[in-house]
Amino acid sequence: MAETIGFTLNGKPVTITTDGQRPLLWVLRTDFGLTGTKFGCGQAVCGACTVLVDNKAVRSCNHPVRNVAGKQVRTIEGLSSNGDLHPLQKAFVEHDALQCGFCTPGMILTAYSLLQQNPQPTREEVIAGMNENLCRCGAHTRIIDAIQDAATQMKGGKA
């Protein structure tokens, strides 16, 4: 059943009239053309589709769009501001923390959410926080290093 759903998308208010059961992933990718959020498994077990809802990592592939009504949704396209990369994005570049890049948006946003809850995580805490995100190319060690580096940068007030 079509319903009108309003939320904030990358800082801008949006509304959409659609079936509220539709997964947020496809609404973002199709209706809003934000293709940075990726489909990986469709069962919320790989993390490629991760977006931020009120600054918390959410798997958008099985998250009904209705559930984000009135909330702040941020995708990878909304992470940098005024063309400046977010410290996490910068750290991923500087640590070569990616290969094919397909899991990267989900990795960065999961890390963002992790650092919101735990600004200075230990290595073990980063591993635990990222463990449900899959990368097939094997960039894991570099991703951990990048997240820890970004945490340091962000604490320095640069974020």
């Binding site: 934000l34 959020t37 498994c41 992470l79 991923f92 991703i143």
Partner: protein, 718 residues
């Protein structure tokens, strides 16, 4: 690579309009200086010539120096995360004395790039690199000639810095590549090998560079096949059988058709629903009422090995020397062992995806593919179009590992675009991805080997069934040996395996190296020798010796015969001309059988490393991916029914699985560049198996080494 299906030669004519002459074509590209060159194997080009289509006779890649001074390299190779988009410009930069930032890569677009067989086999740097460097040197030569004329300075007095040619005696006398290329159409062929830069002159090659596509990838701007959008495009979902070999008995699409905006295409067993939203296509697919007849299962993941051995046909001897009978006589200890390896999925995070558009008798397909040119012909054949009327464009590929060469999804998209008259995207679900994957084949290896009590290897009789023969030949100094293979290069076909199989990162070599290096380890243990010392004693080739020594040194290896209780393992292998030696440290929970890999040291003899940073990342990727096939990954199936269809049960390596990884790339800038995308994965099975043996005394003979199998192997010793 003679068994590779993509070697089947069909090629592309870059002049898509036959009425356009080469010169007009170059003009249409905006003019400039063009250098055409050939990649590697001249037999490929010879076969193309014999194919009688005329083009390309003398090149299969080219570069252009444009009037803006930028250098564009046009190649059929694609970028799937392996880093060619970074390392190829490095080579051009040094040969042309420019910054890599001045190089643009046009990759995998069949209308802009000359024919290429595909991106696999760690071949881009090895075979594309040398002619690319030669072409860069040729381009520099042309530019110097032009500059000499323009500046009225003899060529030998000219030098180049960052794309500016100047007079060494008067630096103010200078001209840029841009000014030299302006208004020109110059065509050269880098046939004769011009002198390329000596390693001592490298400024960019052999220096670490960050991925140049990272900026796009961290911002979500990088486009993959599924990110392409066209007006009025539809998203398709195809009705799939529950098992390979199943026949569609009955289908009723009426409920789906009643849904708003849903259209249905049916062509025999090809039943498809389409909608302008992908999720609505998924919903429509669920409304299709269908019944399939599933053939009875005759084999499953438990009985597969017996099945393979039963179906083993003729053996091909791929290597031999001495006399096996003689070797047996010399052997004081003879060891016979059988090794098993199950099916593995590629499991790239991007599923197979394509968008196709058909306009009149022309088709354009954007696809996640490692083989854009073979795909072009597949589409042409499926649609009844001329190959020259099909264009394949390859955006970034979200991981391939050998699994994105079959192109079924792209052919489906093309058929649907033709049937509906609209652009159609096919993006496989994870379940479809697992179902239609061209799995790494299940395989059996039988080895009979012998040693003297003093630890000299005397006999090696090696039989591999259905893995393929890459990496099967042993490289130790064994006087009496034979290697034979059943099932050819890719391990048999549909007559043997219940579903599709194909190339999986370092095809066959993972299975072969697991078997060989496990057997070598058993031999070392039976000789009561340290496994590193045993290998060094039985190696004669300098390359594996120096590679193994480098790994042992980095690790801080202290000799002890296995099992030492320390949980240390070693393995050596060769792939894509690169030798690799790995040492692992593991912890085994003897009660649960769970294996924790603590540390992996990897040394690689890969010749000249174009981008040492990129090569290191490939090694790390290989080690990480290798943990999966060694410890957790295995496709369970019953007949043609695939039981593992998503990541909930098919366990990929995770952050928590990671060991500390340390890498050594031997510094060999004066040697040719060998492959780097695959070698470090091949020894992961054996190095962990050998470390488990060292920790527990239990010998693992089957991959993956799941907790259950490890526990049982430990129990069997008691």
């Amino acid at each position: 690579m003679n068994d590779n299906p993509h070697m089947e030669i069909d090629f592309h004519d870059i002049v898509t309009d036959p009425n356009l002459s080469r010169r007009e074509f170059l003009k249409a590209l905006g003019g400039g200086i063009f250098i055409f060159f050939c990649i590697g194997d001249s037999s490929v080009l010879e076969a193309q010539r014999r194919g009688g289509r005329g083009y390309p006779e003398d090149f299969n890649a080219y570069l252009r120096v444009g009037p803006d001074g930028r250098v564009t390299c046009f190649t059929g190779k694609i970028e799937q995360g392996q880093g060619a988009i970074t390392s190829l410009p490095q080579m051009l930069a040094d040969e042309m004395d420019i910054s890599p930032d001045m190089v643009d890569m046009v990759m995998g677009d069949t209308a802009q790039c000359p024919w290429d067989m595909g991106t696999f086999g760690s071949m881009t740097i090895r075979f594309f690199g040398p002619p690319l460097r030669a072409a860069g040197a040729e381009a520099r030569k042309v530019l110097i000639e032009l500059a000499a004329e323009q500046l009225q300075v003899p060529q030998d007095r000219l030098a180049v810095e960052n794309g500016v040619v100047f007079d060494k005696q008067n630096k103010d006398k200078k001209i840029t590549y841009a000014d030299l290329a302006k208004g020109k159409i110059i065509e050269r062929h880098a046939k004769e090998k011009p002198p390329v830069k000596d390693p001592s002159a490298f400024k960019v090659i052999n220096k670490p560079f960050l991925h140049r596509d990272a900026q796009e990838k961290v911002t979500g701007k990088a486009k993959y096949a599924g990110d392409m959008r066209l007006p009025d495009m539809l998203y398709a979902k195809v009705l799939r059988p529950p098992a390979h070999g199943a026949k569609l008995k009955r289908v009723d699409t009426s409920a789906a058709e009643k849904m708003d905006g849903v259209s249905v295409v049916r062509d025999g067993d090809f039943v498809v629903v389409l909608h302008k939203s992908p999720d609505q296509a998924v919903a429509a697919l669920a409304k299709i009422d269908s019944e399939f007849e599933v053939p009875p299962a005759t084999v499953d993941d438990q009985t597969i090995f017996e099945h393979l051995l039963k179906n083993a046909g003729r053996e091909n001897t791929t290597a031999q020397g001495g006399q096996l009978e003689e070797g047996e006589k010399l052997s004081e200890i003879v060891i016979e062992q059988m090794y098993l390896d199950g099916y593995k999925a590629h499991a790239a995070i991007e599923t197979h995806t394509a968008l196709a558009q058909v306009e009149g008798n022309k088709a354009t397909v954007w696809a996640s593919t490692q083989t854009p040119f073979p795909l072009k012909d597949q589409v042409a054949s499926a649609l009844g179009f001329k190959p020259e009327d099909v264009r394949v464009i390859t955006p970034f590929v979200g991981g391939g590992f050998g699994g994105k060469s079959a192109n079924q999804q792209a052919v489906e998209a093309a058929r649907l675009a033709k049937a509906t008259g609209k652009p159609v995207q096919v993006m496989w679900s994870r379940e479809e991805e697992f179902f239609y994957d061209t799995f790494r084949p299940a395989a059996v290896v039988k080895i009979k080997s012998g040693i003297t009590k003093a630890g000299k290897a005397t006999l090696w009789d090696y039989h591999v069934y259905f893995a393929g023969d890459r990496g099967a030949a042993q490289f130790y100094d064994i006087p009496h040996h034979r290697t034979s293979s059943v099932g050819g290069g890719f391990g048999g076909g549909p007559s043997v395996h219940p579903f599709a199989t194909g190339a999986w990162r370092a095809p066959a070599n993972n299975t072969n190296s697991f078997a060989r290096e496990s057997q070598i380890d058993i031999m070392a243990a039976r000789a009561k020798m340290d496994p590193v010392e045993f290998r060094l004693k039985n190696l004669r080739d300098e390359r594996p010796i120096r590679t193994l020594k480098a790994a042992a040194e980095k690790f801080g290896w202290k000799p002890a015969p296995s099992p030492s209780g320390r949980g240390l393992g070693v393995a050596v292998g060769i792939d894509s001309d690169t030798f690799v030696a790995e040492i692992a440290e593991v912890e085994v929970d003897k009660r649960t059988g769970k294996v924790r890999v603590r540390r992996i040291v990897c040394a690689q003899d890969m010749g000249l490393a174009i981008n040492p940073a990129g090569a290191t990342i490939q090694i790390e990727g290989c080690i990480t991916m290798g943990l999966g096939y060694a410890l957790t990954e295995d496709i369970r199936f019953k007949g043609g029914m695939i039981l593992d269809r998503n990541f909930d049960t098919y366990e990929l390596p995770r952050f928590s699985s990671l060991p500390k990884i340390e890498t050594v790339i031997l510094d060999l800038p004066n040697e040719p560049a060998h492959g780097g995308g695959e070698p470090a994965i091949i020894t992961m099975g054996a190095v962990i198996a050998n470390a488990i043996h060292d920790a527990t005394g239990a010998r693992m003979l089957q991959l993956p080494m799941t907790p259950d199998r490890v526990r049982k192997a430990i129990a069997a010793m008691a």
